[in-house]
């Protein structure tokens, strides 16, 4: 028999469910406790408040991604391959659980200051990766970091809109190549960008729960 989940795990799961159903700003402590089957004292032993609970769950999800990724069979390559690998591994991580996707992309923007700062750092890491494309240019000063921020921000806004509207991500083969097109275009030009639309999703690392492609 599987061991009973810890109070922290039960609160984590309950928070993901409630955020998915009604959005974080409409989650109150009473409904969280009822869903987790815990009392206030048990909650207080784990967290200082709802925002603290959200922040801990958010960081736990990020840690889960970092522990399990990369879950894709990577081929040796340069900047473009690295970006593609990251795009698919992130998309598969989010797509594996629609509650998680909405929690990370949508609800985190309604969370407290600490989560917003942490999420901002994560987004900066992604921008840094995209900005690496400038090293592919004959003159890296032709573009600034603002281009990478615009691309990354545009993609993030798009995921936010999709999850806000449909609560689930479309199959990866529909979306990721299009996003890769936008990423590659300013740095490697239109021919390389068009190639991205034809490149099939990378193989999954079957040993990882994140490896399985969607769609």
């Amino acid at each position: 028999m599987a061991p009973r989940p810890s109070p922290r795990d039960r609160l984590h799961d309950a928070l993901l469910e409630l955020c998915f159903e009604r959005g974080f700003r409409r989650v109150d402590l009473a409904s969280l406790l009822a869903r987790a089957g815990l009392d206030r004292a048990a909650f207080a032993r784990e967290f200082g408040g709802l925002e603290d609970c959200f922040d801990a769950c958010f960081r736990a999800e990020v840690e889960r991604y970092r522990r399990q990724a990369p879950a894709i069979v990577t081929e040796p390559g340069g900047w473009r391959e690295q970006v593609r690998t990251r795009a698919y591994s992130l998309y598969r991580f989010l797509g594996a659980d629609r509650r998680r996707a909405r929690f990370i992309v949508v609800d985190s923007r309604a969370a407290g200051e600490r989560t917003l700062l942490f999420a901002g750092q994560l987004i900066e890491e992604l921008f840094e990766l995209i900005d690496g494309g400038r090293r592919e240019l004959a003159d890296p000063n032709l573009l600034t970091r603002a281009t990478a921020e615009s691309i990354g921000g545009g993609i993030f806004n798009q995921l936010y809109a999709i999850l806000g509207r449909t609560a689930a991500l479309p199959p990866e083969a529909e979306i990721v190549p299009q996003l890769m097109y936008s990423i590659v275009l300013p740095y490697l030009g239109p021919a390389a960008a068009r190639q991205e639309l034809e490149i099939p999703p990378p193989l999954a690392d079957e040993s990882s729960p994140l490896g399985a492609p969607r769609g």
Binding site: R22, G23, F24, R25, R26, V106, R109, A110, G112, E113, L143, T144, A146, T147, E149, S150, I151, G152, G153, G154, I155, F156, N157, Q158, Y160, A161, G164, R165, I175, P177, Q178, L179, Y181, S182, L185, P186, G189, P190, A193, R194, L197
Partner: protein, 235 residues
């Protein structure tokens, strides 16, 4: 279209003409409440703003607040709608003035109008664009529309593309959302005065997929010229 609450709305009662109508007073109260909500949300964040803070800043009673809005959320949604309607109207006016101009020139005008709207009232822009996602599920649909306000204009660029069928379907939403993201970052750190400097790179960013690197760079450079400078022709 509802008017965006003006910067001087808190003093506008003093400046009202001698003959004050009941409807005029009501409208003024509403404007003051909206303005106060926007300023408070920009400074403290949506979640830290209470009705108590709003009524104090707007110099109205609780009764007056509740005569206009049933809660903070409803008030903020109206502010958001008003800001977006006004921004859209400014973009439409800029595009109408360039109706006969080539498409890239229209894009320059549309982007400039968008950035000008942010620069003109950065506090309210910050409240609407930066804080809106913290409000919760009710605003998501509105926010999505705001993020893609430029998409219809950008999609006209497909007619200028030598290979329109090879452009991805989500391209316009990525580009429009990307431009807004750049402005959003400046609003977060209180650097609205640096938004204008983003314009050339934003122009290049949105034009590049349709007309190519060289022509996009040309229009970006042209956007730095004084108003009335002759538009470039295709290289």
């Amino acid at each position: 279209m509802r008017a965006l609450p003006g910067r001087d709305s808190r003093t506008s009662l003093k400046d009202s003409p001698a003959r004050v109508t009941r409807d005029g007073v009501k409208a003024d109260q509403r404007q003051r409440i909206l303005r106060a909500t926007g300023e408070l949300v920009a400074k403290r964040g949506y979640n830290a703003v209470t009705i108590e803070l709003i009524v104090k800043r707007a110099k109205v009673s609780y009764k007056t607040f509740y005569a206009h809005f049933s809660n903070k959320e409803e008030c903020f949604l109206e502010l958001f709608d008003a800001v977006m309607a006004q921004t859209r109207a400014q973009i439409d006016a800029a595009l109408a003035a360039e109706a006969e101009a080539p498409w890239p020139q229209q894009v320059v005008a549309g982007l400039r109008a968008l950035f000008d709207a942010f620069i003109a009232d950065p506090l309210i822009a910050r409240a609407s664009i930066v804080e809106a996602p913290t409000v919760g599920p009710l605003i998501i649909e509105r926010y999505e529309k705001a993020m893609t306000v430029l998409s219809p204009l950008l999609s006209q660029g497909r007619e200028s593309s030598p290979q329109p069928d090879e452009l991805p379907a989500t391209l316009e939403d990525t580009l429009a959302g990307g431009v807004l993201w750049s402005a959003y970052q400046r609003l977060i750190v209180g650097e609205a005065d640096r938004i204008e400097a983003l314009l050339p790179e934003a122009i290049e960013f949105v034009l590049r997929p349709y007309i190519g690197e060289a022509e996009a760079a040309m229009w970006a450079k042209w956007s730095l010229q004084p108003a009335g400078a002759p538009a470039p022709s295709a290289p």
